[in-house]
């Protein structure tokens, strides 16, 4: 789960990381009040889960509270990469001496939290990693022992020569590590970590991504989820416990299992179609899940045909068949549906479907070819 910058700031502040002043606003009036309190020139930053906010016009300077209100009014409500801006962050336009990068990710290769530190900060770190990887110092942290003080210090020496700044940065490394571990993050970064002309070390921008698996037992993190910052169909799917990602094609897919769902999308593409979504209804699929899945997919006007691809292992195919029948009774599905079912209780599933006049296929390739044809015909 991506956090907004203002939420990430709150988590990092909570562990003691020094930050520039600033606050989040939902209205121009709020933005004006924050700008007045801060004083001087401020930066107004759109809070959306999208990169390139600056280029899209979502980050603006304001020299006084009135300008802050004006700029906030411009940014609030604008759309960046399909997402509407509901909140802006107002922070001082800081005078900056140096900019560095400090980040922690959960690294699958070492199976550990991995520090990445670079004195080339304030820029896209992926670009630094691609073009000048030698500028990034990496350090995996053994989760058994945590971050040792000498490790924090050696990372800080990468960034600074002045020992007061080194000590400050080492403290920030330890705090960032704590925030990462305590919040079950998969990413926590400060970009840039800046020094001011008078020598202070502060975090200017923060990004935190929380491992979705933490949310079940961490309601305090779950509340940070901002539905309004998501694609509405994806938010609806999440609430229905479906793993769903919206895409740009016209073939809706309902599959059990993530791997098979991806393979189904790939096969749609292979046969010349374009998948409209990724959708995994999971292992123990109740009829309700099927109904919800159909509702979400049919809500997309681009969808021209729908494919069910169910390999019954734990999933009982008759459950899925019942779900399909129930769904078509609840609401009208206006696009053609192709059903492929095989495995557990396959005969019963086919019987259920045939009873309401729906055919079922057992071969995946055949089903995918059929649905691609249907979508093309409807286009």
């Amino acid at each position: 789960m991506n956090l907004h910058e203002y939420q990430a700031r709150t988590l990092l502040k909570a562990v003691g990381i020094p930050m520039f002043d600033g606050d989040v606003a939902s209205t121009p009036t709020e933005a004006e009040a924050i700008a007045r309190r801060i004083g001087g020139t401020v930066v107004i930053k759109a809070q959306v889960h999208a990169g390139g906010r600056g280029k899209a016009g979502g980050v603006k300077l304001a020299r006084n509270p009135a300008e802050a209100a004006d700029e906030a009014a411009q940014i609030l409500g604008m759309t960046i990469k399909g997402l509407t801006v509901h909140k802006v962050l107002v922070v001082p336009a800081a005078e900056i001496a140096t900019e560095s990068y400090v980040g922690l990710i959960m690294d699958r290769e070492t199976q550990r939290p991995l520090f990445m530190v670079s004195s080339a900060g304030g820029v896209d770190i992926e670009e630094v990693a691609a073009k000048t990887p030698e500028k990034i110092v990496r350090l995996p942290v053994d989760p058994t022992y945590g971050l040792f003080p000498h490790q924090a210090l050696s990372l800080a020496f990468v960034l600074y020569r002045d020992f007061a700044q080194v000590k400050a940065a080492a403290g920030i490394m330890e705090q960032l590590h704590r925030a990462f571990v305590d919040n079950g993050a998969s990413l926590a970064e400060i970009n840039p970590l800046v020094t001011t002309p008078d020598g202070r070390v502060l975090a200017l921008d923060a990004k935190v991504v929380i491992d979705d698996n933490e949310l079940f037992w961490r309601p305090d993190l779950g509340v940070l989820r901002d539905d309004s910052a998501e694609e509405p169909s994806e938010a609806a799917a999440r609430r229905a416990n479906l793993s769903f990602i919206k895409l740009d094609g016209d073939v809706g897919c309902v599959v059990n299992g993530a791997g098979l769902a991806m393979a189904t999308m790939d096969l749609v593409k292979y046969y010349g179609g374009e998948p409209a979504n990724f959708l995994d209804i999971g292992g123990s699929s109740s009829p309700e899940k099927v109904i919800n899945a159909l509702k979400i997919i049919t809500a997309d006007p681009h969808v021209k045909a729908i494919l069910f691809n169910i390999f019954g292992g734990i999933t009982r195919t008759d459950d899925v068949a019942n779900g399909i029948v129930a769904a078509t009774r609840q609401f009208k599905v206006n696009v053609p549906v192709v059903i492929r079912l095989t495995g557990t209780n396959e005969a019963e599933a086919i019987r259920i479907l045939n009873e309401v006049g729906m055919p079922a296929l057992s071969d995946m390739d055949e089903a995918v070819q059929r649905v691609v044809q249907l979508a093309r015909a409807a286009a």
Binding site: D211, G259, L260, M262
Partner: protein, 300 residues
């Protein structure tokens, strides 16, 4: 005849009295697996289905029944702790089916697991099955498998079944099928399984089913190039996946330009792994490989 699980497997099921655990316990017993014990704290002394003794702790189960393999069906929040309990009880092979375990938990558990020299399979995996000895540890449907000489390793669940189904229907039986799991941090990776299949005298050819995210397939391809002499056929799911989105599996996510299907398929190609464009391709590719290597897969 197999890797990791065979006739010597004596299985303890952690979470045997739970909804998932009890369902799959029955399936495994029916299939023929030697289920010697179950563990549910507080239910020690009970008997599952009138045949399997239930213990309060894995240590008790090991002491009383000589269990040498554990399979875990406990809820996500306690699953990493269950892995550690089995490792601490001296069980050399632990299979964790549970999906949704926080990655931080696994990151903490792995050093302990390794320090005990334990092989962990999973988490978030369907487990493994050896049809030849009718040994099933996990949730792979037994009825789609048949004994034979193809080894299969996969990051996926139902996609594995799809491929196994093609194999079985076309007379290509399996030595062992292993699902290594869809999480970013897993105990056993492709290379571990490839090495085991390479060393298994009863495996003639290997199918590996990967997906987007991470570099495990790329590393595996390099390993195949250097160390594997048996024919290998490979698939990568997620060629149409967008960047930066988690495709169901926590591990199936393209970060920046890394972990893409293209990257992985290129690595396969460079390693001489025959690439399946569709799951159904597995049969033809294996047969072609078999011919070019003088019919290894048809040997019994």
């Amino acid at each position: 005849m197999s890797i990791f699980a065979d006739a010597a497997t004596r299985l303890v099921i952690q979470g045997i009295t739970g909804r998932e655990g009890s369902f799959h316990a029955r399936q495994m017993i029916e299939y023929g697996t030697k289920v010697v014990a179950g563990v549910t704290p507080g239910k020690g002394g009970q008997t599952f289905e009138a045949t399997v003794p239930v213990f309060n702790t894995v240590a008790d189960a090991v002491r009383e029944t000589g269990a040498n393999t554990a399979v875990i069906y406990v809820p996500p929040m306690g699953a990493a702790a269950a892995v550690i309990e089995s490792a601490d009880a001296g069980i050399p092979l632990v299979v964790c089916i549970t999906e949704g375990i926080p990655v931080m938990h696994m990151s903490r558990a792995m050093p302990f697991v390794r320090s005990r020299g334990v092989r962990l399979i999973g988490p978030n995996c369907p487990g493994l099955i050896t049809p030849g000895t009718r040994t099933k540890v996990g949730i792979i449907p037994g009825n789609i498998c048949t004994a034979g000489r193809v080894g299969l390793v996969s990051r996926s669940g139902t996609l594995t079944y799809e491929v196994v189904n093609h194999l079985t229907r076309n007379g290509l039986g399996q030595s062992t099928c292993v699902g290594i799991g869809g999480d970013p941090i897993i105990g056993t990776n492709f290379i571990d399984c490839l090495a085991a299949f390479q060393d298994d005298p009863d495996t003639d050819a290997i199918v590996m089913i990967g997906e987007i995210g991470g570099t495990d397939e790329q590393n595996a391809a390099a390993f195949v190039k250097e160390q594997v002499t048996k024919p290998v056929v490979g698939f990568i799911a997620g060629q149409t996946a967008p960047k930066g989105r988690r495709m169901g599996h926590a591990g199936a996510i393209i970060s920046g330009s890394s972990g893409t299907a293209e990257e992985k398929l290129a690595a396969f190609e460079a390693a001489g792994i025959a690439i399946m464009r569709r799951p159904a391709d597995v049969v033809g590719l294996l047969q072609r490989k078999a011919q070019s290597t003088k019919g290894v897969t048809s040997r019994k």
